[in-house]
């Protein structure tokens, strides 16, 4: 992977906002003293009058965005996932979700790849929280290409959207001429017959690596990228489960309530299938380099390979 281009999706987020600024004059971006880290500083530089730093007050930022949305603005609120979804849960639910306002939540620094800051800042619960809010769209892009496409698609979609971005640089895997992003449509990355690996975010690249290793052992793994956790592409999930009869989910998130749970919710009702959920196994993270944490918690290619091997 040495020669693969790597970009953190938070960078993609900031760049996409700046690129969309001219096309969407109502687009405004709010931050809570983290514009440098969330990379919305790029937008701020290009459109200083449309960037609002609210100071370290995420809950108020969320309410301000709600008020702006009632007046026709398309606000993005930016913070770390821990604060954007965690600290803010009730504000997002009541001030944005309940009135179904056109506010986008750009949550960066999600999951354990926050790294050295440790467990207090590693949000492994945000997808679960956001998924419970009626009418909320939840998107977890896997790389730069997808992250930028997701930002534009979120602006074009009327209603609240939660977008999850990471701190660490990740390989660009969707840089293909026929790549097309559509909210709610999963991407079949590799066809297989023995097992389905459903991944989102950083685990998509890991799943592709794992599939290569499994192939060497004679195991044919189908790999699906579910960038939109809600609404879930049930059609794609069901078709693959019916074909392979075994499903593995992989996410940089607790296995309680995230991608794995969303897939199980679908399969248990419509096509009962054995499922192995790879992710944070009901534990907090810890300090360490992002790649070391990914390895320790089994979210890299080798980790997913080993888990799938034990499952099939």
């Amino acid at each position: 992977m040495a020669d693969v281009k790597k970009i953190a999706t938070r960078e993609s987020y900031g760049n996409a906002l700046a690129e969309c600024g001219a096309d969407f004059p109502n687009l405004v971006v709010l931050d809570a003293d983290l514009a440098g880290a969330t990379k919305t500083g790029v937008f701020q530089k290009a459109y200083p009058d449309r960037h609002i730093d609210c100071g370290i007050a995420e809950c108020n930022m969320t309410g301000i965005a709600a008020g702006l949305a009632t007046c026709g603005k398309v606000p993005f609120i930016s913070s770390f996932a821990m604060f954007a979804a965690g600290r803010n849960f009730e504000q997002v639910r009541n001030s944005i979700g309940y009135p179904h306002l056109n506010v986008k939540i750009g949550a960066t620094h999600a999951g354990i790849t926050v790294g050295e800051d440790g467990a207090t800042h590693q949000c492994n619960e945000d997808v679960a929280l956001m998924r419970t809010i009626p009418g909320m769209t939840v998107i977890v892009p896997s790389d730069d290409v997808e992250a930028k496409a997701a930002v534009r698609a979120a602006i074009e979609l009327e209603g609240p959207v939660y977008l999850r971005f990471g701190r660490a640089a990740v390989p660009v895997i969707n840089d293909t001429p026929d790549y097309k992003f559509e909210i709610g449509k999963g991407v079949l990355l590799r066809e297989g017959t023995d097992v389905t690996i459903i991944a989102s975010g950083i685990t998509v690249a890991s799943a592709l690596e794992a599939a290569d290793m499994l192939a060497a052992d004679g195991i044919s793994a189908e790999v699906i990228n579910i960038h939109t956790i809600k609404p879930l592409d049930e059609e794609l999930v069901l078709a693959s489960a019916k074909k392979t009869g075994k499903v593995v989910t992989a996410e940089e998130h607790t296995v309680i309530g995230g991608l794995g749970s969303a897939v199980c919710d679908c399969l248990s009702q419509k096509c009962p299938t054995p499922v192995l959920k790879i992710g944070m196994q009901d534990v907090f993270g810890e300090s360490g380099a992002a790649n070391a944490l990914v390895e320790k918690y089994g979210l890299d290619g080798k980790g997913i390979y080993a888990s799938v091997k034990g499952f099939v």
Binding site: V28, D49, R50, I52, C54, G55, A57, C59, N60, M61, T62, G63, I64, A65, A66, G67, L68, A69, T70, C71, G72, K73, E90, Q91, N94, S95, Y98, P99, H100
Partner: protein, 279 residues
Amino acid sequence: MNKLELQKTANEVRKGIVTAVHGAKAGHPGGSLSAADIFTYLYFEEMNIDPKDPKKADRDRFVLSKGHTAPGLYSVLANRGYFPVEDLPTLRHLGSYLQGHPCMQETPGVDMSSGSLGQGISAAVGMALAAKMDGKDYRTYTLLGDGEIQEGQVWEASMFAGHRKLDNLVVIVDNNGLQIDGKIDDVCSPYPIDKKFEAFNFHVINIDGNDFDQIDAAFKEAKATKGMPTAIICKTVKGKGVSFMENNAGWHGKAPNDEEYATAMADLEKIGAELGGAN
């Protein structure tokens, strides 16, 4: 409207509050009645609004941050012509467009869903900010409870409004002195309220919030104030107008039974008669 007309209208708004809460067999009469004069002044005198066009782009905005006093908002909206007064007793009933707390998608004239305390003021700040960004001259008003200002988010929002010099924003505090668990200064005192808003760079006006002369003067002063938001701290009587509800925390969130309803309406009819009958 002159003062007498405002007083008579406020009395009708109070009747609507009591009728709505009685019809619901639940709800929050105390803080609705204390703020009835403020609601009346806003919707009949102060705000640039059109009941025939509730979503008019450049209308003034109102956010009921103390959303539990929805009966007060609904009653004033109904009396102002947004929807029939006869619908007020459907409050909180299954299928009613008058939800227990304000819902902007259900009720004509409601500019923001609210009810989770501390959140409405932030939305109001967002509306005021939008007007500034777009160079529009509409104004935004938000009403908070004196218990509500115990919520930290209120001060996050106030800090931002002061910092941004949002002189198109008026924060109104209904200082009726009581919250569910008792007197606000026994539970967790927010006093001095005026000094706190001053410290957050607001222009602060202290008034008797049940006196239309003082209300009128305060809102005129707010409009004339440039370069900073205004906070109007309104000393009020919780349950105002209904003898047995006045200054009684027990009527924060309780509906009158049939007998109590009759007594309450008799109290308000008497006040109406003293004011010289209907407008």
